[in-house]
Symmetry: D2
Subunit: 392 residues, 4 copies
C-alpha cells in the first residue's frame, strides 16, 4: 500500500508518566507506523517522573514541561514547523475537557482518552469549543481500530446478516475483585475516586467501550436502557460492575455487561450481533478472528491478514501482516494514529475519518449518564436521547 | 461402582411418538444404564404413529394404549409385578399437570418434561396432589444430570470461589429464526401456541433451564428480576427471545438470556459464576470441561472422566468413561433415570435424590410468571417470591 | 427415520467383568438404540466377578457361563429363537482369534475388540475360518462410528478437498506415564504384557485406531512407513509410544503419532487431511465438529446434528439429536451395534455395512507388524503390503 | 521497568523494499520500543522502489543507497556519532552471508534474517569472520522473542515438567498450495528458486523456525533425524513440505512437521513438549497462552500480561501490556530489537543476550543439510552433529 511521503506528525502528551499504563501504550502505538513522533510532554505532577519519562522518550529538556498549561503556552510560541501538532491527553477523566478545550482554543488538534469528560454537559461545552476551533478531535476508543471490527461493521452494513434483532455485548474484567485502590495501585485509585473519574467507575471506564462497539458495528443507536449497577468491594464509591438491558432505534434489543470484579477475567470484551439472515461474533482477546454464522449454513471463521479471503478494504487497510501473524491491541491503537496523521496531512477539520470523534464522545457521556440515572431509578426504561452530532 | 442387583424399573410413556424429539430422547437415555425398561405407552393421538412407535419399542400390543386415561386405568389393573412403576410424560406443556396428577393419584411415580405445567397455580395444585400421593415426582431438567454441573455445584458449596457476586447464564438457540411453525414443524407448532405451551414460549421452553441451572449451581435463589421479552417473527404469539436482570437472595446479581432466534446458535446453554475468590464457567455444548479461575492463579480446566483429577464424588458417580471419551446429552439424562430407578428401589417417597422435583417445578413456574409479568410492566424490579418447598 | 420393527438381536459377551473398562462400554452402547439385548456371558475368570456381572446385566443364572468354551457349547444347544446371535469379544488380545474362530465355527456372528489378533498370521487364519463360516465379523473400531468421521470420508470421496497430499494423524494419551501396571491397574497390566497383548503395546492398542481412521477417511492405503518406537517407563516390555512417517499408494505422505506417555493427554485422537483444494480436521474429543478449510475461503465448522446443514446422509443417519446436544463415544459405538443388528436382520454374510470387518483387521495387523519391524530396522522405508481383502 | 536513558541505535537496512514482506516487518518492530531509528538503507535493486521506500522511511536522500556495497562504504566514512550502528539484512538467503561478512568486517553489528546462509560451510566461514570482527550478530528468529516461549523455556529448565520424553513441533502453512511463484508473487519466487534460497525451500524457510523453537524451549539438542521431503506442486524445484523423526542428545524423541502446502493453514507453528512430570503446549497463532499440564492435575492456562500470575521474569520483561490486551508478532520481533539495542549500549561483543546468534545460525544450517541429506538417503537415521558454538 504505497502512501504519499509525509513528514511525521509532531505529538505532545499530557499525562502518561512512568507507571501510568495508558500513556506508554499511546507512545508505543503512535510510533508503530512511523507517522508520528513525540516532541513534547507534561507527563506527571511528579517532577522526577516527568523528567525521567521525557528523557526516555528522547525529548529535548526544554520540551519536557512542568504542566499542561505551560506546555500549551510554550508550544504556541514555537515556529509552526517545530510546534506540536497533535496533543494526546492521557490523564484521569476530570482533566479531559479542560485540557482538550484549552488545547483546541490554542489551535492544537486533540486525541483524548475516553470518556470525553466527566459529564454530558461538560462534553457538550467541549463540543462547542471544538466546532469553533476548526481543530480535529479524536477519542481513543482503541477497540474501534481493530480490523475485524471494521469487517463486522461492513458486513452488517452490506446486509450480510440481515435485519439486526439482537445485540449482546460484554466486557468483563477481574482486576478490581479486591480493593487495589487501597494498596497503592494508581490505576485503581483514580478510577474509583469520583473526584477524578466522574459519576461512574466501571461503566465510564469500560462500559463506554462496549457501548461504542455495539453502536459502531450495528449502526443502530441505543434508544432506551434499563441498568443495574453495583459496587461489590466494601467502601468503594463508584460502580465496579453492572448490566444493562438495551433497546435500539431500529427495533433490536439486547444486553450490555461491564464488570471489573469478574475474577480471572482479563479484558474479555466480546460482541455478538444476530440478524434475521445470520450472526457475527468477535472477541477482543482473539481479535484476528470474526465468527460469521450465515443462516442455514456452517459457521465461517473470517481471519485477519493481508492475504486472507473475504475481507473488506476497510479491514484490509488496517492490517500489516499476512494471516497467522497475530496483530493485537497496539496495532489497533496504531491504526487510529495512522488515520489521525493522515487527516492532519490532508488539512481536514472537525472529524477524523476512521477515528471516533466528538459524536462518539457525546454518545458515551450520554450513555454514562443514562446508565447511572437508570440504576438509581425505579422506572424501568430510561431514554437515551439521540445526541445531535453524527459521525463514527 | 458395584451396585446392588435390582430388576429393571418398568416405564410407561405418554407422548413421544415418531417425529417428537423428546420422547425418543427419553427412551434412549432410559435404556443406557439398563436400570429401566419400557413396558407400555400412549405415544400419539395418531393411531398409526402410536402403534408404530409402540412396536419399535418392542411393546406388547395390549400395552400400546389409545390414550393416557386408558393407560392409567389398564395398568392399575395389572398385577403389581407387571404393572408400570414410573410414568414418563413427554407431551406438550398443557397436559403435564393433568396427566401427572392422575398418574400419582393412581399410585404411579412420575417423571415429567419441564415446565411443570402452564401456570404456577396449576403447579401448586399438582404439588398438593403429589404430597398426598406418596409418589415420587421428577422433572426432566436434563442439564442438571451433567457431571460437571454437579462438580460446579460442589465447588461453590465448598467455598472454592468464595462469596458469589455475579451469575450470568444464557441459552441462545437459533432454530426459530424463521416461522417454522407455519412450515409443518410440530416442535415449533406447539411451542409457539399459547393453548398448548402456556403463557410463554422461549422462557418456558429454555429460559427455565437457564434459571434452574443458575439456582442449582449457585445455591442462591433469584429474588428479583427485570425482564424484557420479544417475539421477533411476525405474528408469533409467544415470546421467542428475552433477557432478564437478576438479583439473588444472597446479594448477587447478573443476567439471564434465552432466545430461539439467535441465528446459527444451536443449544448454547452457558453459565458463568463469579465469586470473590474465583470463578466457574461451563458450556453445555462442551460439557466435559469446567473452567475454574482461582483468584490470582492461572485458569484450570477440570475435565470429566472416571480417571480425572480433582472431581467430587457427585460428579464422578455420574460418569461412565475415562477422560477423553466424550459423554453427552443422553448420558446426562441417563443419570436422571439411574437416580430415579434407585429411589424407586429404595422405596423413597416425595423427592428423588439427584433429580429435580416439585420444588424445582414450582420455582420454574414462578420464574415464568414473574418474567412474563415483568416484561409487561413499567415497574423495574419484580419480586420472585420464595416457593415453599425446598429440594433440588 | 422409521425403521422396520425387528426383535432385538441376542448378544453374548466374553470378558468385560467388573473393572474391565471396555466390556461395560460395549453393554452401554449395545443398549442405546434398543436393537440388541444381552442374553448370556462369560465375563471373568473370577467366579464372583462373573456372577455379579451377569446378575447386574439381568441375565438368567444358567446363561452366566464359567468360560467361553462352555458358553459356545451351551448356546449352540438352545433353540434357535433363544440362542445367542452375536458374540462380543472383550478380552485381552491373545484370546481374540481363538474365541472368534471357535464362535464362527459354531455359527455365531462375532463383534470383536481390536486388534484382530496378536499376529498377522493368526489374523489370516481367522480370515479363512470366517470365509468358510458364512458368519458376520466386525471389529470395534469405535471411532469409525462417529458421524463426522463419515462426513469427512464422504467429503473426501466427493472431491471437496481435491487430491490428498498430506495425512497427519495422532493419538496421544497420558495414562501410562507412570508404571500403573505395577500398581494393580488391570488395564495397564495386560496391555504391557507381551503374552497377552502381542508384539506391540501402544501401537496395537491405539496406533491401530489412528491407522484405521487415516485409511478410512482418506481412502488411501498406506504403502510404506518408517517407524520409531520407544518404551519410556523403565522395565516396560512393549512400546508405550511411537511415531511413524507414512507414504500412501496414491502419493500422499504424512505422520502417525501414538503415545501413552504424553502427560496430561486424555484420548486426543486427531486427524488432519490436506488436499490441493481444501483440508479437513477432526478431533475425537470434540467429535461433533468437523473443520473444513476450502482453498482461498474462510474455514467452515460443520456441526453434527439432525438439523444441521451440509451433512451427507451417511453422517446424518448416525445421529440421534439436533445440533448442540452433544453425542459422544457411546453413541459412536452404538452406531456399530445398530449397523450390526441390521445386517443380521437382513441375513447378510461376510461384511457388515458400516462396521469395520476382516479387511480392517488384517490391515491393522499388517500395520502392527510393519511398524514393529520398521522400528527395529536400519532400513528407512518398510513396505506395508496391500492385504487381500477389501471392505471398510 | 525504568531503563537507563540511551540514545536510539542507528539502523541501516539491506532489502525490504516495497512489496517485500519482511523488511516492512522489521521496520515496524524496530520502532516499537523507541530504542532504534532507521538512518539509511539499500532496499531494492529497483531504483524507484529503493527511493520510495527510503522516503517513506523519512531517510535523507544521501542515505538511500544504490546497493549494499555503497551503503557499507559510505556509512563507514561518516562520523561515529552519525554512522549506522546495526545493519539489518532482509534479503533472499543467498546474500545473507556475503553482506553480513562484509558488514562485520567494516565494523557494523548485524541482525540478519534466517537462515544464516545457504550452506553450513558458508555459515562456518561467517562464524569465523564474526569472531574476528568483535561485532554483535543476531538472527531474526522472531518466534524466540515471544514472552510465553521464554516462559516455557524457564519452566522446562526449572524442572516443572520433569525429564523430557517427547517433542512434537509443527509449522504448517498453506500459501504455496498453488504455484504462486509463476503468478508474479515475489515472496514465492525467490523462496522456490535454489539459486536464491539454497538447497531447501520449506525446511530452510520455516522448518528452521520449528527446529530452533524445539531446541530453545527444551534445552535438548537434536542429535539424529530421519526426514521425508516432498515438492507437491508440479515443477517446483525445492521442497515445499516435509516431516522428520527426531532423537535428542538427552534421550527424547519426536517429530517435526513443516509444510507450505497445507491448504487453509496460515502460520500455525505449534510445539508440545511432554516430560515425565507434566507437559507444555504453545501455539504461535494464540501466542499469549501457554498450556501447562501438570501430571495428575487439571491443565492450567498460563497467560501473558504484566499483571498475570506465575510468570518468570524473562517472560514478564518481554511484555508491555496487562493480560487480555493481545500482543503479537511485531511485539515478539520488537523484543529482539530491544535486546539488541541494549547489548550495543552495553558494548557487548559476540552474542546478544536474548537474541539467537551465530550458534543458532550454525545449528539451523546443520539442520537444513541433515534434513536434505536424510531425505535423499536410504539410511534411516542421519546424525546431526553438535555445532561447536554454544549460545541461545
Amino acid at each position: 500500500m504505497p502512501r504519499p511521503h509525509h513528514p511525521r506528525i509532531r505529538l505532545g502528551m499530557i499525562g502518561g508518566g512512568q507507571g501510568a499504563f495508558i500513556g506508554q501504550v499511546h507512545r508505543l502505538a503512535a510510533r508503530l507506523d512511523d507517522t508520528c513522533e513525540l516532541v513534547c510532554g507534561a507527563f506527571s505532577r511528579s517532577t522526577d517522573n516527568n523528567q525521567i519519562t521525557g528523557e526516555q522518550c528522547h525529548l529535548n529538556d526544554e520540551r519536557i514541561y512542568a504542566d499542561w498549561q505551560q506546555l500549551l503556552e510554550s508550544e504556541q510560541q514555537l515556529p509552526a514547523e517545530e510546534r506540536m501538532q497533535l496533543l494526546v491527553i492521557a490523564t484521569p477523566n476530570h482533566l479531559h475537557v479542560p485540557i482538550a478545550e484549552a488545547a483546541m482554543q490554542a489551535g492544537f488538534h486533540v486525541f483524548c482518552e475516553k470518556p470525553a469528560g466527566v459529564s454530558l454537559r461538560e462534553a457538550q461545552r467541549l463540543a462547542e469549543s471544538w466546532q469553533a476551533s476548526g481543530c480535529l478531535y479524536g477519542l481513543a476508543h482503541t477497540y474501534l481500530g481493530y480490523p475485524m471490527v471494521w469487517q463486522a461493521r461492513e458486513m452488517v452494513s452490506e446486509g450480510q446478516i440481515g435485519r439486526i434483532r439482537k445485540i449482546h455485548v460484554e466486557y468483563p474484567q477481574g482486576w478490581l475483585v479486591e480493593r487495589l485502590e487501597q494498596q497503592g495501585n494508581k490505576q485503581a485509585a483514580w478510577r474509583t475516586d469520583p473526584t477524578l473519574a466522574g459519576i461512574s467507575g466501571c461503566m465510564a471506564d469500560i462500559g463506554t467501550h462496549a457501548f461504542g462497539l455495539a453502536e459502531f458495528i450495528s449502526g443502530h443507536r441505543i434508544s432506551e436502557l434499563c441498568a443495574s449497577l453495583a459496587s461489590h468491594a466494601d467502601g468503594r464509591q463508584l460502580d465496579d460492575d453492572g448490566e444493562v438491558l438495551l433497546r435500539t432505534d431500529q427495533g433490536a434489543s439486547g444486553t450490555l455487561i461491564a464488570s471489573q470484579i469478574c475474577s480471572g477475567e482479563e479484558n474479555a470484551l466480546k460482541i455478538r450481533i444476530y440478524g434475521d439472515k445470520g450472526a457475527l461474533e468477535w472477541h477482543q482477546m482473539a481479535p484476528n478472528s470474526l465468527l460469521y454464522r450465515p443462516l442455514q449454513a456452517p459457521m465461517r471463521t473470517l481471519r485477519a491478514g493481508i492475504d486472507q479471503p473475504d475481507l473488506f478494504p476497510s479491514a484490509m487497510q488496517r492490517l500489516r501482516l499476512p494471516g497467522g501473524h497475530p496483530e493485537g491491541y497496539l496495532e489497533a491503537l496504531g491504526n487510529l494514529y495512522r488515520d489521525f496523521s493522515q487527516a492532519i496531512h490532508q488539512g481536514k477539520q472537525g472529524d477524523v475519518d476512521g477515528v471516533p470523534g466528538m459524536a462518539s464522545g457525546l454518545r458515551g457521556m450520554a450513555f454514562i449518564e443514562a446508565v447511572t440515572t437508570s440504576a438509581q431509578s425505579e422506572q424501568k426504561w430510561m431514554p437515551l436521547p439521540a445526541t445531535q452530532m453524527s459521525g463514527v
